[in-house]
């Protein structure tokens, strides 16, 4: 039986690991290589590493650093940040990334996503879906000044045959007050592609609630691991108690 995945997310700003609140107010939280080493020793299901300022600052992700992070990991790793060419993807796969996570380029260049999927296969192309609610409807948060409805974007990426959606509630990001179940259920109803739910996990109950109220198979988190004593294993132990299939 397929196990649900609890995935630590490392967000990097070009200098160190940071954790944002609602995609602003970055707070320094440490060193990426050290963090990767700790997560590997804890046997986490998967790791996500995102350079969250690469696209905005118009720079490429630091391959040396990513390589050092990946070297610590004997589990799957997904890497994102500033990916805009086939070479960018190839460079990341070559140093051991299993999946790449694309955001900005997916908003502006659907052809690039199609091309990436046909070149590397669906399974290694993940798409960031950063959603924010405005007047009761979900839109894609972006710094490009674009107005993109969530549903339109999901439809478009479904047609591109991507491998995964990393669905983040921007409104709940870093607040540690629970996940946006409506968002998760909404996206789940629009696609048959695997999803990772992100944004809002602050205590163990938030995870049991998420898995009770949605059909999600993977969850990504940062704050709870940076700012509390809880580990991914604590969450899995609790999920097991309520009958969710986990890898222990």
């Amino acid at each position: 039986m397929l196990k649900v995945r609890i995935i630590p997310i490392l967000t990097f700003n070009g200098f160190g690991l940071v954790k944002t609140k609602q995609f602003s107010h970055p707070r320094m939280v440490g060193n990426p290589v050290q963090a990767a080493r700790v997560y590997n020793s804890r046997g986490v299901d998967e790791l996500v590493f995102l350079d969250i300022t690469a696209s905005e600052q118009n720079r490429k992700i630091n391959l040396k650093l990513v390589s050092d992070v990946v070297k610590e990991c004997y589990m799957p790793v997904a890497i994102g940040g500033g990916i805009s060419s086939i070479d960018d993807i190839n460079n990341l796969l070559k140093i051991g990334a299993d999946k790449v996570i694309i955001k900005s380029k997916a908003l502006t260049d659907k052809r690039f996503i199609e091309e990436s999927v046909s070149f590397f296969g669906s399974q290694c192309i993940s798409i960031s879906v950063d959603a924010t609610k405005v007047n009761g409807s979900y839109f894609i948060h972006n710094k490009l000044g674009l107005t993109i409805e969530l549903d339109d974007f999901i439809d478009e990426m479904n047609r591109c045959n991507v491998g995964e959606f990393v669905v983040t509630s921007v409104d709940n990001d870093g607040l540690m007050n629970g996940f946006d179940h409506d968002l998760v259920n909404h996206v789940a109803s629009k696609t048959n592609i695997p999803m990772i739910a992100v944004g809002g996990g602050g205590n163990i109950n938030h995870y049991t609630e998420l898995f009770t109220n949605t059909s999600i198979e993977a969850v990504g988190s940062a704050s709870i691991f940076h700012f509390t004593q809880h580990t991914p294993l604590d969450i899995k132990n609790e999920l097991k108690e309520i009958g969710v299939s986990v890898r222990l």
Partner: protein
């Protein structure tokens, strides 16, 4: 020496890292004489079946590998796409010929109520225990949209349940191939690789 075949289909670094961790000497190569001289061959790979075959042919590796593995019986480990390519036919993105070492074809996973790709940790049901001794958890990491359907069930090494039974590994004579990624499956995967190479390298 173990040769990790480099044919431009992704993630060769991870497999070499796992072998380094196990203190097994390996080289990443597409050089014909290096490949011919190796004790064991690993065909890794992610991406589409058609592209994979195209890349093998461009490097004239298809005939070489067939000679070494099928005729000369050199030990062969295929991983993910490297398992699928040993089939007779693939369908990603359209019908095409594979290496044809094991009778059968590779088809898209089509299941109602299941998300595709089949992605994440799933436990396997072992049919041939040879390489699995001492492995505590049978959860391995999967990431695939296509699956191998061998004609002869006796080659099946393990199954995985994803709404239906899919073939998760194959073992036939000198060929061992896994749909899951042992190099990404932490303790279980490293132990499997250790067992496998201990067995084939004597």
């Amino acid at each position: 020496m173990i040769a990790i075949i480099d044919y431009g289909m992704g993630n060769v670094a991870s497999i070499q890292k796992a072998l380094n961790y196990l203190q097994l000497k390996s080289t990443v190569t597409s050089d014909h004489s290096q490949i011919s001289d190796a004790e064991c061959l690993i065909l890794p790979g992610v991406g589409s079946f058609k592209q994979g075959m195209l890349n093998l042919r461009q490097r004239k590796l298809d005939d070489l590998l067939t000679k070494l593995v099928v005729t000369e019986k050199k030990s062969f480990l295929g991983i993910c796409l490297g398992m699928q390519l040993i089939a007779e036919y693939g369908t990603e993105p359209e019908f095409c010929h594979g290496l044809g070492w094991i009778k059968g074809d590779v088809k898209k996973i089509e299941l109602t109520g299941r998300r595709v790709p089949h992605m994440g940790w799933n436990d396997i049901e072992i049919k041939k225990p040879k390489f699995y001794e001492g492995i505590k958890s049978m959860d391995f990491y999967f990431i695939h949209s296509y699956h191998f359907i061998p004609q002869d069930e006796s080659v099946i090494d393990s199954y995985v349940n994803y709404g239906t039974r899919l073939v998760s590994s194959i073992q036939y004579e000198n060929i061992f191939a896994t749909q899951f990624h042992p190099e990404k499956s932490q303790e279980s995967g490293l132990k499997l690789l250790k067992n496998y190479f201990a067995s084939v390298k004597g």
